[in-house]
């Protein structure tokens, strides 16, 4: 994008003033993040991983479930199996691509669910205040008394193995964290003049929360939520790695890492591949979230 000299932009803006409004906040954020090379590289990697996971059946890959006893644990680069084969002779490339489907869902869905629940809880607690705030926030405090890995494993362990249970347990882990952030930003906004003005002109509490507060706090909560995706990916795959999430023969990165563990003496680098996928997704989300945070910090 070429930058016009300041005076020229100002002139253009003046001339166009009646027709166009000043650039909105989100447009500015979007422009800033598009200029950040690291963020864009991460977005591209994530886009590729997402697309390949979605389009997996149409990519002409091998059947990720079909094994063969005679071609187990082939090395990376074997003809026909670019990334080798796993302990049951299944094509690793196919399993890694198909594995993205479950891994991404069980890693990202808990954050999305917790984002919805936590934002609602935090908004209500922050806006209404008083006894309701105390009730919600003290309940949240109890979950803070557990390290998040322990809490996820405690709930998953009690509920038993399964994809649904792992999603539920991770959602429970993230709801308190998002609620705390949502509550604190809401408390910061609720006494501002425009909220007072809305109340004075007769807006009900739900209208104020939905129209006047949500728009002002959603950005901050959203950035915080994106920073949790990386942890969530690692934990979700970790639960599967322990045998608490996905069940075999489903391709899923954490579970693949677990079943390939015994193969590290035979074919170590094939065994390490699923972890590299988790790492790639996790680090890209982290960098993207950092990029988004600094793009949203307009004062800087």
């Amino acid at each position: 994008m070429s930058e016009l000299p300041l005076s020229a932009t100002a002139d253009a803006a003046l001339q166009a003033a009646p027709a166009t409004k000043a650039r909105g906040y989100w447009a500015t954020v979007g422009r800033r993040i598009r200029r950040d090379k690291v963020s864009m590289a991460c977005a591209l990697v994530l886009l590729l991983i997402f697309l390949s996971a979605i389009l997996a059946p149409w990519l002409g890959l091998d059947d990720p479930y079909k094994g063969s006893m005679i071609r187990r644990l082939r090395h990376i680069g074997t003809s026909g199996y670019p990334l080798g084969t796993d302990e049951l002779g299944r094509d690793m490339l196919a399993r890694l691509v198909y594995g993205g489907r479950l891994s991404l869902v069980i890693g990202i869905l808990p954050v999305i669910l917790a984002f919805g629940i936590g934002t609602s809880l935090g908004l209500v607690a922050g806006y209404v205040g008083g006894k309701l705030n105390t009730a919600i926030m003290r309940t949240i405090d109890v979950f803070y008394a557990f390290p998040s890995v322990l809490l996820a494993i405690a709930i998953s362990g009690a509920l038993g193995a399964g994809i649904l249970n792992s999603i539920v347990s991770l959602t429970v882990v993230f709801v308190p964290q998002i609620t705390r952030v949502a509550e604190s930003v809401t408390t910061g906004v609720r006494n501002m003049d425009f909220v007072e003005a809305a109340r004075a002109s007769g807006a009900g509490p739900f209208t104020i929360m939905r129209v006047h507060i949500l728009g002002n706090v959603l950005g901050a909560i959203f950035v915080y939520a994106t920073s949790l995706i990386s942890v969530s990916m690692i934990l979700a795959a970790g639960l599967s790695f322990l045998g608490l999430g996905t069940k075999p023969p489903e391709p899923e990165w954490g579970l693949m890492l677990n079943t390939l563990r015994t193969a590290i003496y035979v074919n170590p680098w094939v065994a390490a591949l699923p972890g590299a996928m988790i790492f790639a997704v996790s680090i890209c989300f982290n960098l993207l979230s950092d990029g988004l945070r600094s793009a949203m910090d307009i004062r800087n």
């Binding site: 390290p147 009690a158 170590p268 680090i283």
Partner: protein
Amino acid sequence: MLAYIARRIVYVVPIVISVALVCFLLVHITPGDPLVAVLPADASQELAAQLRAAYGFDRPLPVQFGLWLLRALHGDLGNSIATGRPVLAEVLRAVGNTVTLAIAAAIIGFTMGILLGLIAGYFRETWIDKVATSFAIAGVSVPHYWLGMLLVIIFSVQLNWLPAVGAGPNGSNSWAWDWAHLKYLVLPAITTSVIPMGIVTRTVRALTGDILSQDFVEALRAKGLHERGVFRHVVKNAAPTALAVMGLQLGYMLGGSILIETVFSWPGSGFLLNSAIFQRDLPLLQGTILILALFFVFLNLLVDIAQAAIDPRIKRG
């Protein structure tokens, strides 16, 4: 100060009770009856009812919770279903190994984190900063159980330098501070240290950067204070927050060790938790989680008090 400590301790009481409640309820969110794991599949109705009465599962939940809490306060967390031994003794034995691992990892992770953070903070926006922050981001993004596998592949399988699993020669369970045992600690400790390293680096970097850009640093330099003196001010101002973050990380390492202990078959509390889950040993599961969570709560309490002790800005009134 004493009043502050007393107040903080009083705040902890409801938290401890709620933590106990969550641990108690864990067993009751289990699908089916808590006795499913103990009862043979063909048990008669009478036997089931008898056992339920013997364990007190036929009473109302609040009564059960009260009785359980009372016993827990006396150090009785029930017996493990798998081994029949008291849960408390099993957990305390395993926690010792986890503490060893966490302390070793803390020494590595915190030292690295503080160093990298200070360097990055001092040389902000230079290539040194970029390298240090990349380390930090990789540290917090890496699936640590995978990193553990990688280290085993490199240092045990390929180079044959260090043992892959266990906590001592010949499957030894009792820890000793000699090289024969330390060898087993190296890989798990490095693996555990990666996340705290990343988080401490990021925290210290941000703190150092903020402090260095404040006016008082400018004033100190203008007055002619040498860099070592400025550095002392930076450390003093960064210490309380950094300490709080490190305390929290130590707690996470103690409570979240299950994945790493599983990878390395490290006989700590996480390993115990893993076997409790897969043997459906609910009293052991409940007891381990309770003890680990209480550890975490008290560690947080200690950090709060230590922070107040070194930071006069925290209100003690």
